[in-house]
């Protein structure tokens, strides 16, 4: 059975060490100057070190450059892409064509993963980006299981799905939190993710959406953590190439536990589907034990009906 890649975000070098020990096949890092919702900012030195450590352990490193770029950022982006190409990063993640255009020029051999968040929803568009050089697409988290498997069947490039963690549900270029604080006359320093801010909808006070600002504007994350552990078998059978765990807003300790569970689950299913099934309940117990209060584990949109 073809084993999917287990991919996890990392916030710093120390976390990378722990994640490697926990059994990841690949990590995703970046810097908010170029990447969206990175879980930590890696300086150039740290990026170099990260790639070195990972490659020593045969772990791949994908770098996020999936921001929406404006003219004023082109020079720094170009220089960053050169830098990543020289380090032999295993792939860069892009969301829009600015990166493609620059990479063609300065980093033609860097593999490209397409992650435009909620815009990756059909197989023809995925294959289209394949003809433009993408080797992998990270599917929209709003797709259901059937659509995911159907896309995989016809996709000409690798397919990645999210299996755990929060999803992005909103991105604005505006600094909406700072604007609000200014409006109220409160002088706060920048409302980054360490401030642990949440939004509650007026009518559903029990549901909490993390909100924070970074250089890319305002980000709102889902109120739930996606957890598809109980259905990994379907995804593995369907041949999905990579399983991503989003570690943003989680401690290293928690993340290591999550990765460990998914590592075991994948290995066990690929070895013996029967044993996998008997262990799911126990694994879910372990995951629930470290879930923050008020953040339910759900299957997101995998089995949800949507209308339009």
């Amino acid at each position: 059975m073809q084993k999917p890649e287990l991919l996890c975000t990392a916030a710093n070098l120390d976390e990378i060490h722990h994640l490697i020990n926990a059994g990841v096949d690949a990590i995703n890092i970046g810097h908010e100057q170029f990447g969206l919702r990175v879980s930590g900012n890696f300086s150039r030195e740290e990026t170099e070190k990260a790639i070195q450590i990972c490659h020593e352990h045969h772990v791949k490193v994908y770098i996020s450059t999936n921001a929406l770029f404006h003219n004023g950022q082109l020079e720094e982006l170009e220089s960053y892409l050169r830098f990543l190409a020289a380090l032999h990063a295993d792939a860069i993640i892009f969301g829009e064509p600015t990166v493609l255009m620059l990479a063609r020029k300065v980093a033609p051999n860097l593999p490209l993963h397409w992650n435009p968040e909620m815009l990756c929803t059909n197989v023809e568009t995925i294959n289209y980006w394949g003809t433009k050089g993408a080797t992998r697409a990270y599917l929209a988290r709003e797709l259901n299981m059937d659509s995911i498997l159907e896309i995989k069947e016809d996709a000409e490039i690798e397919i990645q799905v999210q299996v755990f963690g929060p999803t992005c549900i909103f991105q604005s270029r505006r600094d909406l939190v700072a604007s609000y604080q200014n409006y109220l006359g409160e002088n706060n320093d920048s409302p980054g993710k360490e401030k642990r801010l949440y939004l509650k909808e007026e009518k559903r006070q029990e549901v909490c959406y993390p909100v924070y600002e970074d250089r890319n504007g305002t980000n709102i994350l889902s109120a739930e953590d996606l957890c598809i552990l109980e259905h990994l078998d379907e995804l593995i059978d369907g041949g999905i190439d990579s399983f991503q765990i989003e570690g943003i807003l989680r401690t290293t300790e928690e993340l290591v536990k999550i990765v460990t569970v998914f590592r075991k689950a994948i290995d066990s299913y690929c070895l013996d589907p029967q044993t996998y099934r008997t262990q799911i309940a126990g694994w879910m117990e372990q995951l629930r034990a470290i879930q923050p209060a008020k953040r339910p584990l759900t299957t997101g949109f995998y089995f949800k009906e949507q209308v339009f």
Partner: protein
């Protein structure tokens, strides 16, 4: 050096939720209108055009030297793709000039199925840099509708680097997220925002709190609601920057709104292009707009990233001060009597305003009215009823009458 008239005027592009709105938008000065089809549209709940109506729309528009674009800017799912080819073929047959498209799968299919239809890249792609514009140009689109997050300076740079038509929004409601990058509605209402299901969840009221420190609930809710874009005071800069098409938002808006807003931009563009050096902005253009528009206005991202002054906090929507009261059907110069189609209650003693595509607006006090049977009436209470009214100043069919609330 003095400048002569500007020969290649930018296009003024207005929304049209249905055939009637389309006709008014064009008569009130739009060079092009955009409409929705009955599938593949982004505003699932707007009135949408059947292919027969599209044909009628293009006949009317082309007769008046205007163009018709169809917005098909969904982010498609596999199952949406089956209908694309036939849809595009039908559009081509209906004489549609261009489609506004966001998803590359639709671009590719349209190139095959309906090669004569021009492709405009939708703002849903959030195109923000010139290399990105260059990319789409190489893919064969003839126009890029830029992201609303692009500044005026950035537009100048884009025009300098890439030879392609650039369209920008100049008026109307704004998505507060990067277009396409919001699934609030998917989460809150299980409606897919990128397939026309946006429930405008951003405009709801929210409380913000911190996990680290218990905050008191604030009376001012957290908001993600932007004031409406209005660039009427800044058209010369936009025209000089080389913007090819100016887009007004609002396929759901009323005839009164579309006609009023479109016409003020028409007047401003014409005035500037006729004589750029002598151009002065007329305050009445903005006054006219505020008679039909109801939110406070902002210049969006054109002059930098908006802040709290560009958002709507406590001041929720206040409604326009004027109602569309009647549509002019006919005017009898000899008898000085106007025939109107009632659009809102009119009574003797009301002060009303007449305006039209080219006339100067004037106010009038309603003194005498008759119904269809020429019986004197004091009030015209029924929607769409025909009313006659004494009016000493001439008007033309399709002029409008509005009334202060």
């Amino acid at each position: 050096m003095t400048r002569g008239p500007i020969m290649n005027k930018p296009e003024l592009l207005a929304p049209a939720g249905n055939l009637e709105k389309l006709k008014f938008a064009i008569q009130y000065g739009a060079n092009a209108v955009y409409i929705g089809g009955q599938s593949l549209g982004l505003r699932a709940n707007a009135d949408n055009f059947s292919f027969a109506e599209m044909k009628e729309a293009t006949d009317f528009a082309h007769h008046h030297g205007a163009k018709v674009f169809v917005a098909t800017n969904i982010i498609a799912h596999n199952e949406d793709l089956h209908e694309v080819d036939q849809f595009m073929k039908n559009i081509e047959k209906a004489g549609i000039d261009a489609i506004i498209v966001a998803d590359p799968a639709l671009i590719e299919r349209t190139k095959q199925a309906a090669p004569s239809v021009e492709l405009h890249l939708s703002t849903q792609q959030s195109t923000t840099s010139w290399p990105s514009v260059q990319f789409w140009k190489e893919e064969g689109v003839s126009r890029v509708v830029l992201a609303r997050e692009v500044s005026l300076q950035e537009i100048r740079e884009i025009k300098k680097h890439v030879d392609i038509e650039i369209e920008t929004f100049i008026h109307g409601a704004m998505c507060i997220a990067y277009s396409g990058r919001c699934v609030l509605s998917n989460h809150f209402t299980a409606r897919d925002s990128n397939r026309g299901g946006c429930s405008q969840s951003c405009r709801w009221q929210y409380d913000m709190f911190s996990e680290l420190q218990e905050w008191e609930r604030n009376d001012t809710p957290f908001t993600m609601s932007s004031k409406d874009l209005c660039m009427i005071e800044h058209l010369p800069e936009l025209i000089d920057a080389g913007v090819d098409s100016f887009k007004i938002e609002g396929r759901m808006k009323s005839i009164h709104y579309v006609a009023t807003v479109t016409n003020q931009y028409r007047r401003a563009i014409d005035a500037y292009c006729a004589n750029p050096d002598q151009y002065v902005f007329k305050k009445e253009w903005l006054e006219e707009i505020s008679k039909a528009a109801h939110r406070s206005m902002t210049t969006g991202f054109f002059y930098g990233t908006p802040d709290e002054k560009d958002l709507l906090y406590i001041e929720r929507e206040d409604f326009p001060a004027f109602d569309f009261a009647g549509l002019v059907l006919d005017y009898d110069e000899e008898k000085q009597i106007v025939t109107l189609q009632q659009r809102n209650k009119i009574s003797i003693g009301d002060t009303v305003e007449f305006f039209g595509p080219t006339m100067e607006r004037f106010t009038w006090k309603v003194e005498q009215m008759w119904n269809e049977k020429d019986e004197t009436i004091n009030t015209a209470p029924h929607a769409m009823m025909t009313v006659k009214m004494k009016l000493e100043r001439p008007v033309k069919a399709n002029d409008m009458m509005r009334k202060q609330k």
